[in-house]
């Protein structure tokens, strides 16, 4: 590779950022930008709530069809399964999640731009590019986690209550706990995944900057 003669032995050439420390820094950065973080979290919150509500409705419909009272089953069969409506639904959900991701990317880009000087400084202290990426991904993952958690709860609650207004107590009596939990986990995973994907581009841009350029920026 290169001559190491004037620099230290290989064993001393470690640069590391322990995960616990990275988490601490990421968490504190979010806390200090609390209100801005809330907006980003809000975006994920509603997107995932929508996803969860659709999933819950399908789970509840299935549960009522399988085990509900005859009146309810008759009602449901009357409504029928409309293939076109289902495709439309999938399209709606996909769109809303895409809007979510765009929102996250935008928010993270703003966050990165605001902190160019901070990033440049950290590189001066010896931070590797991957540390910078790690910090931003962690921040986004936190926001995704909080937003998704809230969204899952809201989506499930909203759809259950909404169905109760149509079918009375039926949805509660046949409530498919396992299915809903499963869908909840899927939605949580989706929210987390999208947050990380949304932050990837901004994080990479941040990490790539030369310290001199990063610190020359006037914000």
């Amino acid at each position: 590779m290169t001559t190491h003669s004037a620099t230290a032995e290989p064993s001393q050439r470690q640069i590391s950022l322990p995960l616990s420390k990275a988490i601490e820094i990421a968490f504190r950065s979010l806390k200090i930008r609390f209100w801005r973080s809330l907006i980003t979290i809000g975006g994920i919150f509603f997107g995932i709530a929508f996803l969860m509500s659709i999933l819950t409705s399908s789970a509840l419909n299935k549960a009522m069809l399988d085990g509900g009272s005859s009146q309810v089953r008759a009602l449901l069969e009357q409504k029928g399964t409309d293939a076109e409506a289902e495709t439309q639904q999938i399209w709606l959900v996909t769109l809303s999640l895409l809007v979510c991701v765009v929102g996250i990317t935008n928010a993270m880009l703003m966050s990165v731009t605001e902190r160019f000087r901070e990033i440049g400084t950290m590189k001066c202290l010896g931070a590797l590019d991957i540390f910078i990426i790690e910090l931003f991904l962690l921040e986004s993952a936190f926001q995704g986690l909080v937003g998704s958690l809230g969204g899952v709860i809201l989506g499930c609650l909203f759809m259950t209550v909404s169905m109760m207004s149509s079918y009375g107590m039926e949805p509660l009596s046949v409530f498919p706990v396992m299915s809903v939990l499963k869908f909840g986990l899927y939605s949580l995973g989706a929210g987390l995944f999208l947050s990380i994907v949304g932050a990837l581009y901004p994080a990479q841009q941040a990490a790539k900057m030369l310290p001199a350029d990063a610190m020359r920026t006037e914000v």
Binding site: T2, T7, Q12, S29, C124, L125, G126
Partner: protein, 256 residues
């Protein structure tokens, strides 16, 4: 004095006598169709434990030279050697190591991380270097006491004055016992008295810890503590003076 010593010391010592060496460093900035030549060929040698001030007006290229020496930016042509290692040959990992362990940076705008306390700011480079939390805290408190901030260890940058923030920055620059401390306009955002205190602090560190200090500045107060002054003008070195050669009256500059 160094000539006689050079003959008697081993070849290896002569090689690393120059801690920083630049050869024909040029830096051209491209802005659309315009080309701005910020540095027009700089040849410079800085010895270990020297206190060198790079002086020049705004736009002279001293900050650009600072970035070259500190491996913060790449020259368009020419070479920069730190401890006789060509900086351009270093990969990202080695570059990070260099910035973490070998060089400490001080900036005009302090550049402390706002979400961290003074102690955490000072210990961050130590964490990158792999020190345990306990070791880094002990060392961090020690350094903060050296710069006179032993009682402000848990304060955040928002709660510190400009001079105090710069002191934290100085402590942070020393976190991993670097061979070189690079200061870019360290007194630029400070009032005269505080500026003097920081300059005095740097001088003390240079004497006590024998760390090389390279400072890019247009603060004339820095003249008094430097071993050598490199005057930069229009992207070139105009002249290099040693402290002894300067015509300074006590307390004033150039009074006739």
């Amino acid at each position: 004095m160094s000539e006689e010593q050079a003959v008697t010391t081993e070849p290896q010592d002569i090689d690393v006598q120059n801690i920083v060496r630049t050869r024909g460093v040029r830096r051209v900035y491209k802005m659309g169709k315009l080309e701005l030549e910020a540095l027009k060929g700089i040849d410079l040698e800085i010895k270990r434990s020297e206190y060198v001030s790079i002086m020049g007006p705004s736009g002279s290229g001293k900050s650009t030279l600072f970035n070259m020496i500190g491996a913060l930016d790449k020259p368009t042509s020419g070479k920069v050697y730190i401890d006789e290692v060509d900086v351009a040959q270093l990969d990202a990992y080695e570059l990070a190591w260099l910035r973490c362990r070998k060089i400490g940076y001080i900036f005009q705008t302090f550049n402390l991380i706002p979400v961290m306390t003074a102690l955490e700011n000072v210990t961050l480079p130590m964490i990158f270097a792999g020190l345990s939390t306990d070791e880094s805290i002990d060392k961090g408190v020690d350094l903060l006491e050296t710069v006179g901030l032993g009682d402000r260890v848990q304060h955040r940058p928002l709660e510190l004055s400009g001079g105090q923030q710069q002191r934290v920055a100085v402590a942070r620059a020393l976190a991993n016992d670097p061979a070189i401390v690079l200061a870019d306009e360290p007194t630029g955002n400070l009032d005269r008295q505080t500026g003097r205190e920081i300059i005095e602090l740097l001088r003390r560190l240079n004497t006590e810890k024998e760390v090389t200090i390279i400072s890019a500045t247009h603060d004339l107060k820095m003249l008094d503590v430097s071993d050598r002054i490199v005057w930069v003008e229009d992207g070139k070195i105009a002249k290099i003076q040693r402290r002894e050669d300067l015509d300074l009256d006590v307390g004033q500059i150039g009074e006739d």
